[in-house]
């Protein structure tokens, strides 16, 4: 066995890469996740088709109103519609499944017998959640942008400030919105990862995370609780509007980025503390 111990460090990086790839395969290879993706992608198509069919100027809000001017706004409008609930459902399901799902199926036992270091497993699961979140927001944005550009074309990109940007700059703003939402949802995913280490029921973990999202958004609406608003995980989610102003002021996103990073750090550490000390192995 001494030979294996000697080669273990040099193999570690390759093993980590393989482990991460297998985790991505686990997420992106599942049929139920593909169906979830189809639901996410249906929203921007629905928005684009309905607005095109009705022939109206879009809607009351700025994002919907701009759709007929520039198809990229279908992506932005779809992200806005899906951010409160649809995207959190997807993240809650995936992150709740991360550890509890494997424990429930009994595959976690085999994974740990391989053996896989438990710290590494937590990091790989977090990485998988991050990649999934990016894929989910990008899916909504890209499907929306393609559908919108096909039906409405791409004119100037009007900012919230009333100025008009070029198409390339508008595309850049859409990408920034995706990245910001990815970070916010990854923070939610980190919470889900922690909850997932507490139970062997992936459904329960997912519902708990979703419940937390909804409760957090409700508390955020109560002005009497304004003192604690900035500590709520969802409080800065809608700050992506700052990315649609001109001139662009990235410092306005500082609190949101900081909040998300702190949530990721705290709950990944909590998941690590739970998973490496408790006997989660069945």
């Amino acid at each position: 066995m001494s030979a294996a111990e000697v080669v273990a460090p040099t193999r570690a990086r390759g093993a980590f890469g393989r482990f991460f790839r297998s985790e991505l395969w686990l997420i992106f290879g599942r049929r139920r996740n593909w169906i979830g993706g189809l639901i996410l992608a249906a929203v921007p198509i629905l928005i684009a088709v309905v607005i095109k069919a009705s022939g109206s100027s879009g809607g009351d809000t700025f994002l919907f109103g701009q759709i007929t001017q520039n198809g990229l706004f279908v992506g932005l409008a779809a992200l806005t519609v899906e951010m409160p609930f649809f995207l959190p459902i997807a993240v809650a399901a995936i992150s709740g499944d991360a550890v509890a799902g494997e424990a429930n199926l009994g595959t976690l036992r085999y994974l740990l017998a391989t053996p896989v270091d438990r710290t590494r497993l937590v990091l790989v699961k977090l990485g998988g959640i991050g990649v999934f979140t990016l894929a989910a927001t990008a899916l909504v944005a890209v499907v929306g942008a393609v559908a919108g550009l096909a039906l409405f074309g791409g004119g100037g990109f009007v900012t919230l400030s009333g100025t008009t940007l070029g198409f390339g700059a508008g595309l850049g703003r859409l990408a920034l919105v995706c990245l910001y939402m990815t970070l916010c949802l990854t923070a939610l995913g980190a919470i889900g990862l922690f909850v997932s280490t507490l139970t062997e029921q992936p459904i329960a973990a997912g519902i708990a995370v979703l419940g937390l999202t909804v409760v957090s958004q409700i508390l955020d609406q109560l002005s009497q609780l304004s003192a604690i608003h900035r500590y709520l995980p969802t409080h800065f989610w809608y700050d992506y509007g700052e990315l649609l102003r001109d001139p662009l002021d990235l410092t306005a996103l500082g609190p949101g980025v900081l909040s998300a990073l702190v949530y990721v750090a705290v709950f990944t550490a909590a998941a690590w503390a739970r998973f490496t000390t408790a006997d989660v192995s069945s």
Partner: protein, 391 residues
Amino acid sequence: MIRGALRWTVPAGIGAAVIAATLVAPSVAAAGTNLPALTAQQLLTELQGATASAVQGTVSVEADLGLPSLPSVAQSGGAPGHDAADLTSILSGTTTMRVWASHDGARVAVHGTLGETDVIADGTQVWIWSSADRTVTHLVGADKTATRDESSKQAEQWAGTDPRAALASLTPDQLSKAVLAALEPSTTVTSGPDVTVAGRPAYQLVLTPKDAGTLVGSVTIAIDAAERVPTRVTVTSTVTGRPALTVGFTDVSFTAPDPSVFAFTPPAGATVTEKTAGEAGASSSVPAPGADDPTPQVVGKGWSSVLVLAGVPDLATLTGASGSSGTPASGTSGAGDLSAIVAALPEVSGSWGSGRLLTSNLVSALLTDDGRVLVGAVDAQTLEAAAAASR
């Protein structure tokens, strides 16, 4: 490698450290100022020696006016994804604005969650953009050949007549100037403890009304130590004992902004309303009811004085008139809200007649059925007494 239950100290430690940092940081920053002590008189002189000719930064407006939950105010509470950049949103909660000003022009951008209202003046014209309904109001001089100076004066006048443009007067600079102009012997003026505003050391000037009849507890003006410009104004209420209105920079720079921020071209698809100087005055959104103009009259003195506008038609007419002479915007904002607000106010009556009463932590207003509007930083009883006195 730490073992066992000790590992829980890692997440707990990160969380506790961050929460502690957010709670402690403001008080540490405030303790860092090291300014020479100045009397109130010296501070007032400092104010007049302001040197800044340009400013750009972020202004935060925090309002705790305790207004009743009026239709429009409740509506602008802001569900996620709701456009909440209209005027009523300033009256409750926290509003963020970005301001730019230099010799090239001035611009104020009022931020909503997913909306923005901009007022942009470049010295010859004023643009008002509202993202919520995608409308643009363009004000230009009646005399197109007017010199730059004349038309910029006109632009300033319109800024005073159009309620949305009047938003521009909410910068700390202008607000405190207005307060100082109202200074009377009825006020105790002192210098307060030094503070840090927008990361810069600042003096504080505290105005305390001697009059007990007013709702204004005190007005505190923070004056930037380096630039001698007001950077924050706080008005406390005697009702709550807390600040009812705070307007201050959270981030400020006294360098000239890029002139391009004052350039504006109406975006495609926007509804553009063109106005010239004469028109703007006549069709100003302030209701100009009936043939006889309201005659302002002041009852009482000092901080507890009450402004009485007589000759305003009765409430039914007011709501009707304002409904028909609405703003160019669709019926969801402006005039539509006004009638709804008036209708939602509680009815009051007394020896002076009857009417509707609006109370808040800072200002009260009484709209009587016989066509008077009484406004003052006083409580309801004082307003009703003034209504009886001004009959």
